[in-house]
């Protein structure tokens, strides 16, 4: 008996207030999407404050990079947003290529074929990433089945990626000046044709399924109850926190780097940028969890459109790598941003003319979006925290780098 009292008094000492419960959600928790730790201050089920603690997956990516040559950094970018690693590779390569272009003595251009392959693979990767987001969001809200449907479809995409680069998750496919040639797709060969046919078969299979998933989850009234009107992020707030990508468009800001600052060959394709609108039938207002989630569902359709255009044109023939003797950018600095599935991925590189960067900084879209969590979650319930984390779609590998 005495023993029990002792332990009880211990517990009370730890509590700041008698009626406030401090709960650690994470870093090992089923739905913190990795190793996010949230310090929840609860008043019953109501959240007074949710303080995110990050850094459990910190791998010193930026410091590491200072001791590596540029091509050696690419595999490290794979580990940032490992759900959409192709886009991370691409973002880094784009920045380095931009830096290389400043060197006037060197005349190089990324080959046409490589550009097409990059867009093709990265848009497929975007679908794979959004599929994961869709599946895990369903699971966060309590529906288990969409998760398995999403993984079933994602599996087909991963098999396609395996065909071009031999890896399923960390691809290291897009290189500075082109794409990897480890598993060559000879222009006009049967291998290439099979690959394109498989993509087409996947699109034909997958496109109608988006509507099926919308019927299954998006328009489900319980799902709508849980996500509409929850954690409304106004356009102003989204801009202030630096939220980008689907989170920004979910708040009604019409901004997509692929269209507004076209890099690579995005200006050649015809696609729409989905922006959130009020959906009174379901009770959704611009900026709530449902809007952010819906943007991803719509973006998958747009990615399908882009890939279909590439398939219709066919891949141009030619080499897939520019003739770069060595990657030795001139002295200078560059910041380049691209539209990754989770938002604006930026790389800031300072070069002193050696093969290694002096300083490298990655701008992570998830990090910015996560910073809004504390303000979004005030006064909501524990279940809503889960809905917010899922809707801003964070990948901890990228937040912590």
């Amino acid at each position: 008996m005495e023993n029990t009292q002792q332990t009880e008094s211990k517990i009370i000492e730890l509590k700041p207030f008698a009626d406030e419960m401090v709960v650690n959600m994470g870093p090992q928790h089923p739905s913190t999407h990795g190793v996010l730790r949230l310090e929840l201050k609860l008043d019953g089920e109501v959240v007074r404050e949710a303080i995110p603690h990050i850094g459990y997956l910190h791998r010193c990516f930026e410091k590491h990079s200072e001791n590596l040559s540029y091509p050696q950094i690419i595999p490290f970018t794979d580990r940032m947003d490992y759900v959409a690693a192709m886009n991370q590779n691409w973002g880094f390569c784009l920045a380095v290529e931009k830096l290389l272009e400043a060197d006037e003595s060197r005349d190089f251009e990324v080959p046409e074929r490589a550009e097409y392959l990059r867009v093709l693979i990265c848009e497929l990767n975007r679908i794979a990433s959004h599929l994961l987001s869709f599946g895990t969001y369903g699971m966060d809200i309590g529906a288990f089945t969409p998760f398995l449907y999403a993984f079933r479809d994602r599996e087909r995409l991963l098999l396609l990626f395996e065909k071009v680069c031999g890896a399923r998750l960390t691809y290291n496919y897009i290189r500075i000046g082109g794409v990897s040639e480890i598993i060559p797709l000879e222009p006009g060969s049967i291998t290439e044709q099979n690959f394109l046919d498989e993509i087409e078969a996947f699109l034909d299979y997958f496109e109608p399924l988006i509507d099926v998933y919308n019927e299954l989850l998006t328009k489900n009234s319980i799902f709508a109850e849980r996500t509409t009107g929850v954690a409304v992020m106004s356009a102003e707030m989204a801009l202030n926190y630096g939220a980008t990508g689907p989170n920004l468009r979910g708040s009604g800001v019409d901004w997509d780097l692929r269209r507004d600052e076209p890099y690579s060959i995005y200006d050649r394709f015809d696609f729409d940028v989905p922006v959130a609108v009020d959906v009174p039938e379901l009770g959704s207002v611009v900026g709530d969890c449902w809007s952010r989630y819906k943007i991803r569902m719509d973006e998958m359709k747009e990615s399908v459109r882009i890939v279909r255009q590439i398939l219709a044109e066919g891949l141009p023939s030619g080499p897939v790598m520019a003739d770069l003797k060595a990657v030795r950018p001139p002295k200078g600095e560059i910041y380049f941003r691209s539209e990754a599935p989770r938002g604006e991925l930026g790389f800031y590189i300072v070069s002193d003319g050696t093969p290694k960067p002096v300083r490298l900084k990655g701008r992570s879209p998830c990090f910015s979006a996560l910073s809004a969590l504390q303000e979004l979650s005030q006064g909501l319930m524990v279940a809503d925290i889960i809905a917010i984390i899922g809707s801003i779609d964070i990948v901890m590998g990228e937040v912590d780098r």
Binding site: V23, S31, G142, A143, Y149, E225
Partner: protein, 421 residues
């Protein structure tokens, strides 16, 4: 062989009266004694028979029957867990467990063996006594419910005159076990889960009880067998069709029952993505298995109660077609409801705490009260269950369903059509 025939010919195995012997506990003592006197003693050598302790034999026979009961029902969750996994797998384009035994049929057994051998962890900071006690309370209560459920004409433990009241009372005790488990674990997730569970079960008991009340008003009895007996004239005499109000009551009962047994969309007490595993987060090994078994036993129990109250119990679809004392029909109907629960679980997301309470207090309880009023008026107009009252009731239900379908269809049509891309 002749012995076997003689046994069949004896009144205790009379096929014409129902295949199973009457193991009704009310006159069970007499039955067991008669079984000893008339079946066992004549078969014994005379020297033994003269000194055979009839009383002891009677008690032994009764223990034997209880043993069958206790032995059979815990096997039910084994089957249901496998069924759930297989059903879920089919919904999700998978095959489910396939490795252990033919088509994975022994998987649950293997899991059970694994759980027995796992470490039995007790949180050192928690309340040890309550922690150890909680699973037994939940386990015992969920199986005690089976005592009052009539599985067939003569297949029930006891037909006591407050049957349905007893079920309500016993199933309410489960919440005590849940709170004990959550509190004694000394884990915040457990505490949150158990309090959610307590609030949920206590709230949903009200619409549950009120919808049972509509049945009790019509049958004028709390005895489960009498409730079944009023539904003996085929499908249209089932209480669900007795009046439009019982039809509504069935849905309130069933949805509340899903909430009572903590299944999706009301699985907040053990919402994995929110509070890890709810009140049984800290339990491991066989104690966890007890919670798990109790959960599936509960699921079967509430389906069985729904079948007994609303869907004719062990009575057949056509009058008189209660094969083998009505047991197969009863099990099929119950498993159909269990399947419905599984279907809902693998389709729907989960509600939030406040939405759950809204649904109960703002919709179900007012509707349930309205139902009681309506049932009273219905009972005044049609004191007896006649062909006319059934026809009127079925007509109203039919019109109501059509209207509901039209309204729901219109709201579906208002939704934005999928954009062709």
């Amino acid at each position: 062989m002749s012995d076997f025939r003689a046994m069949l010919a004896s009144p205790y195995f009379n096929v014409s009266e129902g295949f199973f012997p009457n193991i009704n506990l009310q006159d069970g003592l007499n039955w067991a004694e008669e079984f000893i006197q008339n079946v066992v003693i004549p078969r014994l050598p005379e020297a033994v028979a003269a000194h055979f302790p009839v009383e002891l034999g009677t008690v032994l026979v009764m223990f034997g029957c209880a043993g069958i009961f206790v032995g059979v029902f815990p096997l039910l969750p084994l089957f249901l867990v496998l069924a759930e996994r297989k059903v879920a797998a089919r919904f999700q384009n998978r095959t489910g467990p396939m490795r252990v035994g033919p088509w994975g049929t022994l998987q649950t057994l293997a899991d059970g063996v694994k759980l027995i051998f796992k470490e039995d962890f007790i949180p050192p900071q928690g309340d040890k006594f309550l922690f150890l006690l909680a699973p037994y309370i939940i386990f015992a209560c969920s199986f005690a419910v089976f005592a009052a459920i009539p599985f067939g004409q003569n297949i029930l433990v006891s037909d006591f005159n407050i049957g349905i009241f007893y079920i309500m009372a016993i199933s309410s005790v489960i919440v005590m076990g849940v709170i004990m488990a959550g509190w004694s674990s000394n884990s915040k997730w457990s505490l949150l889960g158990s309090l959610r569970s307590a609030a949920q079960i206590v709230s949903y008991e009200i619409p549950l009880g009120l919808s049972i009340l509509t049945i009790v008003m019509l049958v004028e009895s709390l005895s489960m067998q009498e409730i079944v007996a009023t539904q003996s004239n085929g499908i249209f005499s089932w209480l669900i069709f007795r009046s439009p109000f019982t039809f509504i009551a069935f849905f309130i009962f069933f949805i509340s029952a899903i909430a009572e047994v903590n299944r999706t969309p009301f699985d907040l007490p053990e919402a994995e993505s929110e509070i890890v595993a709810g009140f049984h987060t800290e339990y491991s090994g066989m104690r966890f298995a007890l919670f798990f078994i109790a959960e599936y036993a509960n699921m079967f129990a509430v389906s069985a109660i729904a079948v007994t109250l609303f869907l004719g119990g062990w009575e057949g679809v056509l009058p008189g077609y209660d094969i083998l004392g009505g047991l197969p029909g009863f099990v099929i109907k119950t498993l159909a409801l269990v399947f419905l629960m599984m279907w809902l679980r693998w389709t729907l997301p989960r509600l939030r705490v406040d939405q759950l309470m809204n649904l109960c207090w703002k919709y179900f309880i007012p509707i349930a009260f309205f139902n009681i009023l309506g049932t009273g008026i219905w009972g005044l107009i049609f004191p007896e269950d006649t062909l006319i009252s059934t026809s009127i009731s079925c007509a109203i239900i039919y019109i109501g369903l059509i209207a509901a379908y039209k309204v729901a269809g219109r709201s579906l049509a208002q939704r934005p059509a999928p954009q062709p891309s």
